[in-house]
Amino acid sequence: MLDLYALIGMAVRLVYSMVMMACNFLGYSTIWAQRELKRRELDTSRIKTPSHLAVLFSARSIKQDQVLALIKNCLDAGVRTLSLYDPWNDVVALEHRILPFCKLKGVRLCVSGETPTKNGTAVDAANSRLSVVLLKADSGKKSLVEVCKQLSSSTQPVTIPAVNDKLTSLYSITEPDLLIHIGDVPSLCGYPPWSLRVTEIVTVSQTPSSKAAFENCLETYSKRDIRLGK
């Protein structure tokens, strides 16, 4: 007895191949599509991923889903550290709402100046794929005041590596490769100043939560001529 399902399968494959033949005849070719995909892959391979990405929100419209999308984009792109800052502590206020997502994805979440255990993040730095640092409004000049106070008790002269070490250990503040500035305020809004030494700045009007918008930012960064004084 002839299998009815096998017949249907054959018919589907036949219709599919006829449609594809018609498409090829009309100019829409899967070969073209494959080539286009390959070209896009090549473009993506030219995109340089920053090891540390910082995001500065200069407007008060920070949404939880946008922050989660940013974290996901960073995970997909292979970013190792994501620092989020705004001068109103709005990002810090989202900590408990983004924590479950971070735990699920194996992302280490910490608030600058607080120990990770305090906010209940189980993932440690060594085991995490991504570290997300929520920078408080007072992470800027005030953190440097604190570092200065601590270093002033030492008998050794203050050095740049010593300041870097203190900022990292006390506030999880390190130097980002790329700063995405969101909003229309043309200022760094008090972002921790010490760490913006040679950071590239990309300004966008809205949070790059979609994959395409995020890739656009990385593409812009990849095209930059980074000379480091030379």
Partner: protein
């Protein structure tokens, strides 16, 4: 080339085009930034773009433009200008280029020092910020002479950042504070934002507007503390091409955005200066200022 330079910003009307005047009037009808800082980038690209015979010629063109811009700033009513002339990182460039830049700086400083009468008329104070220990004794001597000669002038101020990076500036400020604590001149609880600002090269003066030319979008380790919430303006044109219109556009952008930036400044409240604080720290500040002067050979 150097003879053509404007060494006196008050003489800039000589370089004014007829259409500068109405544009200037429009700009000065709004709020003018008191202090403007420039990252003068693009001299080398300008030399390549315009087929100049050497990179050095590009730097000379940039230098000519710098004096024009200083004059325009003076005419518009900007009281203080800080220029990023040479970064500590720039020592990594070829010996030929570094030596060329040092010679150019020496020529400019010598010319400024020699024009005592013109400087007296202009009443512009000149300061050089940066790590003086990295400069040659000859350059330090010239810096010292220029600063001594103009220290009482008050019509405007021009600061050159030479052998400068912001992290080095902050590091030196922290070191002054550490020494102050060690000497018993400061208590740890007296360390705050105001004290750190006062110990930086800029001694508390912070730019309202930072302009970077040549389309690069980074701060290149320049005045990081001082510009943490000022208006940052990036211009596509190379430094030798930065003209009066570019300057007006930057100031217009400042005027359009100052309210937004002020709102953020209010959120980032910094402990303000009070006279009692100054009295308590007077001994330390006097000691530090004397030591700084000694380092730049200001003491005769």
């Amino acid at each position: 080339m150097l003879d053509e330079l404007f060494t006196d910003p008050t003489e800039i009307r000589k370089g004014f085009e007829w259409w500068h005047i109405p544009l200037q009037k429009i700009i000065t009808s709004g709020q003018i930034p008191r202090h403007v800082a420039f990252i003068m980038d693009g001299n080398r690209r300008f030399a390549r773009k315009t087929d100049l015979e050497s990179i050095q010629r590009g730097h000379e063109k940039g230098c000519e433009q710098m004096f024009k811009i200083l004059g325009w700033c003076h005419e518009i009513g900007i009281k203080e200008v800080t220029l990023y002339s040479f970064s500590i990182e720039n020592f990594k460039r070829s010996n030929e280029e570094v030596n060329g830049l040092m010679q150019l700086t020496e020529k400019i400083l010598t010319k400024l020092v020699k024009q005592k009468e013109r400087m007296e008329t202009a009443q512009i104070r000149y300061r050089v910020y940066g790590n003086m220990t990295m400069l040659s004794p000859n350059l330090r001597e010239l810096v010292g002479r220029l600063q001594r000669m103009t220290k009482h002038y008050a019509k405007g101020q021009v600061n050159f950042c030479f052998a400068y990076t912001a992290q080095d500036d902050m590091n030196r400020a922290f070191e002054w504070i550490r020494k102050g604590v060690e000497k018993g001149l400061i208590q740890k609880n007296q360390i705050d934002e105001w004290l750190i600002s006062r110990c930086l090269d800029t001694a508390g003066s912070e730019p309202d507007l930072l302009i970077r030319t040549s389309g690069e979008l980074r701060l290149s380790d320049f005045l990081l503390w001082q510009c943490s919430n000022c208006h940052v303006y990036f211009d596509e044109d190379l430094w030798p091409e930065f003209n009066f219109v570019n300057l007006c556009k930057a100031i217009l952008s400042y005027q359009m955005n100052i309210a937004k930036i002020d709102r953020i400044s209010k959120v980032l409240i910094c402990k303000s200066y009070d006279s009692k604080m100054f009295e308590d720290l007077k001994e330390f500040l006097e000691w530090m200022d004397e030591e700084k002067k000694r380092q730049t050979e200001l003491i005769e």
